[in-house]
């Protein structure tokens, strides 16, 4: 079965031995979570336990609530019922707790959300300096370290508007990493990119996975899902319809809705 994506599974090189999933250490625990937009029930009975080191890919048709779900994990969206516990801290209206969770959870957005009035370096040092109170010089060293890792240290003094989409997304990843997060959320990180740039971003994400980062990734890059994820979650109409290992998920989907979805994106 060939996969119609900009980057095929064959192109993604992963060293699977490096990726280790903890058996006992729970990173995120979502229990019976519901969410409404006004009258509209967007998320229904979400139950998801993510162990430390897991790489989870979440897919599903648009409007299925996959973005909303991962945005609940760092409280960009508020849930109305059920529990979300991140790194042992339950998300409630307690603003202090929310900020604590956000410090430990990095997020990468579809449209990068870099700060256009700041240079690349300033984008990366802002949160460490103001939130973590890291001295400026040290923050800049950390930022340069991560900019080197995403392979764009030479752009440090440019503004986001001067970079290509792929470069901007790699800066966004570096910006998150500068806060030294224990969990990374990716909300369709490659959906706004040209095919040539998707690969460079995916490679950065593979690198993270190999370092044992706990990752939740909303994406339609099925090659990435197959090679990097240890679990694929399929959502439809605000609920988790099916989850499985990538091999089982792609080769033997069980739910009718999953089969229909896969038949439309895979040829």
């Amino acid at each position: 079965m060939a996969i119609e994506n900009a980057v095929s599974a064959e192109e993604i090189k992963v060293d699977a031995k490096k990726m280790h999933v903890s058996d006992t250490d729970v990173a995120i625990d979502i229990v019976g979570m519901h969410k409404w937009y006004g009258e509209f029930h967007v998320l229904k009975d979400i139950n998801l336990r993510v162990m430390r080191g897991e790489r989870i890919v979440i897919c599903g048709p648009s409007g299925s609530g996959k973005s909303t779900m991962i945005r609940c994990i760092n409280r960009l969206e508020e849930h109305q019922k059920g529990k979300i516990i991140v790194d042992g801290k339950e998300l409630t209206n307690d603003l202090k707790k929310i900020d604590e969770v956000r410090r430990e959870v990095g997020m990468v957005f579809q449209h990068f959300n870099l700060f256009p009035h700041l240079t690349i370096l300033e984008n990366c040092t802002l949160a460490p300096i103001w939130v973590r109170k890291t001295p400026k010089k040290q923050a800049e060293e950390i930022a340069m370290h991560f900019l080197k890792r995403v392979k764009i240290p030479e752009q440090a003094n440019k503004y986001p508007g001067q970079l290509s989409g792929g470069q901007q997304q790699r800066v966004a990843i570096a910006r998150s990493l500068c806060m030294n997060p224990r969990i990374m959320l990716f909300d369709e990180p490659t959906s706004a990119l040209d095919p040539e740039m998707i690969k460079e971003v995916l490679e950065t994400m593979v690198g993270l996975a190999e370092e044992g980062m706990t990752m939740l990734c909303v994406t339609h890059e099925m090659g990435f899902a197959r090679k990097v994820a240890n679990r694929v979650i399929f959502m439809d109409q605000g609920q988790i319809v099916e989850q499985n290992t990538p091999v089982e998920f792609f080769d033997h989907p069980r739910h009718e809705r999953t089969k229909l979805f896969l038949s439309q994106i895979l040829h």
Binding site: R103, Y159, M179
Partner: protein, 386 residues
């Protein structure tokens, strides 16, 4: 079939060539900007004719026929009016402005104390110029001196009564001094107040939001003249007898509150233009509300609405002339008073000369603000700089 062969491969990459002469040079500029279409050509010719008709007359009145020196009104009178200029003469009477320049600048501020105003102006410029020049360092210290320390220096220096300086009561102040004092206070207070009101209006806290909305809508719903009247004539009715507010202070408060309501709406417009992603980006990094607003949202919002902010500043600067109705004499007020109340210079040309002078002074200040704001807009435009 050869002509239907769809396969083709470029063997050599095309090189970039110089643009044709129709694209560059003065001729191209004129064709593009002045004579692009028959309508444009007609407009260009009409404008040129209008300039050719008006410009010589204006220049003649302002400079060539103008009187440049003289001790009193007779210098600017024609023979039939009792002077020595030829009949039918018309031109500016500049000695009038020269003679009254001190009054236009300081009002009735005592002659021997005017050095205090001049010193104040020198300090003002010495702080303002480096603040507005991006290349000069120590911006933070400079801003603190300009916005926080200078008001106190100006207060003690201008008002006096301390440190052996004689007290100069505000009714003696006038002219450009009053215009600048009101403008400075209005500008320096309306921007921070406007920011707070704009944030308040978009706040999720209902009481804060309600108070901001009520304040903004009330102040915007009333003309400045009414605010000044109320501050000047109504306020004393409500405070216990014997307790007086300085009239200038009342005008300052009125103007500052008035312009802060307008400023709030301008800034709110900027806040609404900031994409939700910027808030989410800041949130996801764990920035608190004030950090998010102060470091991410406000810098971008203010940059977007520089034209609107400067528009409000310019409006405020010109609105200071309205303090005349509560008997404070700003620049225009002193000019007007000199024209109507000074028999030494009563000539048919005095009024024109005086008002042209006042207009020119206002224009210089407003044009300066406008140009500087355009410069800042270009400088701060990092969004799409390639």
């Amino acid at each position: 079939m050869q002509e239907h062969d769809l396969s083709w491969v470029r063997t050599e990459m095309a090189l970039a060539q110089a643009a044709p002469s129709s694209q560059v040079g003065a001729g191209a500029w004129m064709r593009k900007n002045l004579f692009a279409s028959p309508f444009d050509t007609a407009l260009t010719i009409l404008a040129a004719l209008a300039l050719a008709w008006a410009l010589p007359q204006i220049l003649n009145w302002l400079f060539f026929s103008a009187v440049w020196s003289g001790a009193d009104r007779t210098a600017c009178l024609t023979t039939e009016q009792g002077g020595s200029l030829p009949a039918g003469w018309t031109g500016a009477c500049w000695p009038f402005v020269e003679a009254r320049l001190g009054y236009f600048t300081f009002g009735r501020y005592p002659l021997e104390e005017r050095w205090r105003v001049i010193l104040c102006g020198v300090i003002f410029l010495a702080l303002l110029v480096p603040l507005l020049t991006p290349r000069i360092p120590f911006k933070r210290l400079n801003a603190i001196l300009f916005f926080a320390v200078f008001p106190f220096i100006a207060f003690f220096l201008l008002l006096g009564g301390y440190f052996g300086l004689p007290y100069v009561e505000t009714p003696l102040w006038g002219g450009l001094l009053v215009t600048l004092v009101i403008s400075y206070v209005g500008i320096v207070t309306s921007l921070p107040l406007g920011i707070i009101l704009a944030l308040g209006r978009r706040s999720k806290m209902p009481i804060v939001k309600l108070l901001s909305v009520v304040f903004i809508e009330t102040v915007r719903g009333v003309p400045l003249v009414a605010v000044l009247f109320m501050a000047s004539f109504m306020l004393p009715l409500f405070v216990p007898p014997g307790m007086t507010f300085d009239k200038l202070l009342r005008a300052l408060i009125g103007v500052a509150l008035f312009s802060s309501a307008y400023m709030a709406e301008v800034i709110r417009g900027g806040l609404q233009a900031i994409p939700k992603g910027q808030y989410e980006g800041a949130d996801s990094l764990g920035l608190g509300y004030w950090q998010k607003m102060g470091l991410i949202v406000m810098p971008q919002a203010l940059k977007l609405v520089i034209p609107g902010i400067v528009n409000t500043f310019i409006g405020l600067f010109k609105d200071t002339t309205l303090v005349l109705i509560i008997s404070l004499f700003d620049l225009l007020g002193t000019v007007k008073q000199s024209i109507s109340g000074d028999p030494t210079w009563a000539t048919p040309q005095t009024a024109k000369t005086g008002y042209v002078f006042a207009a020119a002074v206002f224009w210089i200040f407003c044009f300066g603000m406008s140009r500087y704001s355009q410069y800042m807009e270009r400088r701060l435009d990092t969004g799409h700089r390639k």
